[in-house]
């Protein structure tokens, strides 16, 4: 993690983020994912229609998981996420996402999701190059073409910047 410039005032965030849009985004997507599951273990991308979740989709992304274990790749990304990075990650491997970017931090627990096979939501913080603290919360949701084997990930991440100094 990059060091914060000297003289920057540190603001200790003791409370969790307010129950506003940030939490509701991941839970709304989780609710939508549950509605797509129906009787299956996992929903299919075939049933996913970004136009039905326009507000949520802006913060979403899709990963393709390959059965041979090769590195997952980004296949789709919402507008807000896409504009938060310098270069497009579409069709790029996940290693192309830097750790100090929203897509990069959002997939930090991908291995855990693939190991457990259940939706996982985590929040944390990171510092941008200019020292701005970014608080984020993301969720990764397993998807499947056959309803049993995870063949993709639907993810979402939202954030709030904390200006310091």
């Amino acid at each position: 993690m990059e060091r914060v410039p000297e003289g920057t005032e540190r603001t200790e965030i003791t409370e969790e983020m307010p129950q506003g849009m940030e939490r509701r985004l991941v839970l709304r997507l989780l609710g939508h994912w549950r509605s797509l599951c129906k009787e299956s273990e996992y929903p299919s991308f075939f049933d996913l229609d970004p136009q039905s979740i326009p507000d949520i989709w802006k913060n979403c992304f899709v990963l393709e998981i390959f059965p041979d274990g090769s590195e997952p790749r980004f296949r789709a990304m919402g507008d807000i996420l896409a504009t938060s990075i310098d270069q497009s990650l579409i069709n790029q491997p996940i290693s192309a996402a830097t750790r100090k970017s929203l897509p990069g931090v959002a997939i930090s627990f991908l291995d855990e999701v693939l190991r457990k096979g259940v939706p996982i939501s985590r929040g944390d913080e990171y510092f941008k190059d200019d020292g701005t603290k970014v608080l984020y919360r993301s969720i990764l949701l397993p998807m499947s073409d056959d309803g049993e084997t995870v063949s993709g990930i639907l993810g979402a991440v939202n954030c709030r910047e904390v200006q310091e100094g």
Partner: protein, 135 residues
Amino acid sequence: MISYEIHTFRAGQWKADSVFDSRDIALMEAQKIVDGGRYSSIQVLEETYDEQTNKSTVKTIFKGGRKVDDRPTAKSAARKSLAPDKRKAARPEPKQPSRRAPPPKKRTGLVLPVAILVLIAAIGMAALIGLRYYT
């Protein structure tokens, strides 16, 4: 590191549903699942992992839905303890149905209607022939 896992009781066993790092979010989601009524029972487990000792402690912080008694009952435990042979003997033999002569099949009442139809057709034919002969 602390994680909160939601587990649902389905098909006779507890299964992991989702994982969160926030207690509030986990409890909020668990309550939503309870209100949805899809699963009979839900619980939230708090797992605390100690990196120094590489050990985890788990405790239940929420239970919702119907009470689930997944402990073995005295009956099922007794059944399991019996040897296979004894288990077979203990189970009452199903009654064999008594063999009776099958009842005679009733003839379907098709003969009479067909005979009537043939008679009507014959009368009709005769009438047609008669009309042609006399006109």
